[in-house]
């Protein structure tokens, strides 16, 4: 289909910046994008008949990574060596 209506996974690397230019960055647009992303994640990994640990574990791993990233300045002070 046309470029603006394709989901992100089907956009090729070369067309990425044109694709980014077509999507709307208003509050409604961003909210819609977040809702669609969450909906597709749920539909793929959670709302299935035989899901496994993967659906929640990916969310928890993402949460761990995000919280590590937010507290990175605090962790930096507990390094073992000064020069790497």
């Amino acid at each position: 289909g046309p470029l603006s209506e394709r989901p992100l996974m089907e956009v090729r690397l070369g067309e990425l910046h044109t694709w980014v230019s077509t999507c709307s960055f208003s509050a409604q647009g961003l909210l819609g994008a977040v809702q669609r992303a969450w909906g597709s994640y749920c539909a793929k990994y959670i709302h299935v008949k035989q899901g496994g640990p993967a659906g929640i574990s990916m969310l928890l791993a993402g949460y761990c990574l995000l919280s590590y990233g937010w507290n990175y300045q605090h962790f930096k002070r507990h390094r073992w060596r000064k020069y790497h």
Partner: protein
């Protein structure tokens, strides 16, 4: 017009009716269910979710790297990334690392050991729910089927109404006939009673006249018989008897 319920798809002619009629009229000029986009039946859930390797990384990532790096590509990428993070201490090893390692070990062990049992239990719950819902649906369908058959039977029964009406008509005709004949009989009896009365009256009158006349004649005759005549008649009777007895002796 301002008071009627605003069903915009209804034509003006239907909306122009007085409000109680406009509410109850089914606006069938609007096409109903012409597209497939109705809310029921809901499509069933997919059987299995997206493939995830090691519980963390979706399979699409491995497929994405496969053409260029083969099977070991993502693992090499992962190892290199990990070593880079550790050596540059972008990931700092502290007490939380030890805690995380212990927790992850326990979680993985628990999932590997109890996973299938929990999955089977959840599947059983789901099965029961589905079975009950399906049973309800089948029951409803069955009930409706029997209702349809009953209705058809009733319709077939209603076809015999002509026989019923004929029988009723015959009954009524018989009642009328019987009533008519009863009344005829009553009339006949009444008339006969009156005529009998007249006849009896006449007979009685004649009888009384006869009796009275006989009595009167007898009385007068008895009165007219004087004692003289009585003696003469008795003497004559004795003479006749003697003559008769003589003739009787002669014949014997």
């Amino acid at each position: 017009r301002a008071l009627c319920p605003l069903v915009p798809s209804a034509p003006a002619a239907l909306r122009a009716l007085p409000p109680p009629v406009a509410v109850g009229v089914l606006h069938t000029t609007r096409p109903l269910h012409t597209t497939q986009q109705s809310l029921a039946p809901v499509p069933p859930l997919p059987e299995k979710g997206g493939e995830v390797r090691h519980g963390l990384i979706p399979e699409e990532f491995f497929q994405f790297l496969y053409p260029k790096t083969g099977v070991t590509g993502p693992y090499m990428l992962g190892t290199g990334l990990l070593l880079y993070l550790l050596s540059k201490e972008i990931y700092v090893v502290n007490h939380e690392t030890a805690a995380a390692a212990c927790i992850l070990t326990v979680i993985v062990y628990a999932i590997k050991k109890f996973g299938p049992d929990v999955a089977a239990f959840a599947d059983k719950l789901n099965e029961e729910k589905m079975a009950s819902a399906l049973a309800m649906k089948n029951d409803t369908i069955q009930t409706l089927q029997t209702a349809i058959e009953e209705e058809k039977k009733e319709q077939w029964r209603a076809e015999g109404r002509s026989y019923l009406f004929d029988a009723k008509r015959n009954n009524i005709a018989m009642l009328l006939e019987a009533n008519y004949r009863e009344r005829l009989l009553t009339v006949y009896n009444e008339v006969k009673k009156r005529l009998d009365y007249q006849v009896a009256l006449q007979n009685l009158k004649r009888q009384k006249e006869q009796d009275h006349m006989i009595q009167w004649v007898e009385k007068n005759v008895v009165q007219s018989i004087t004692p003289q005549q009585q003696k003469e008649s008795i003497a004559k009777c004795i003479l006749d008897l003697k003559a008769l007895s003589k003739s009787a002796h002669a014949t014997v």
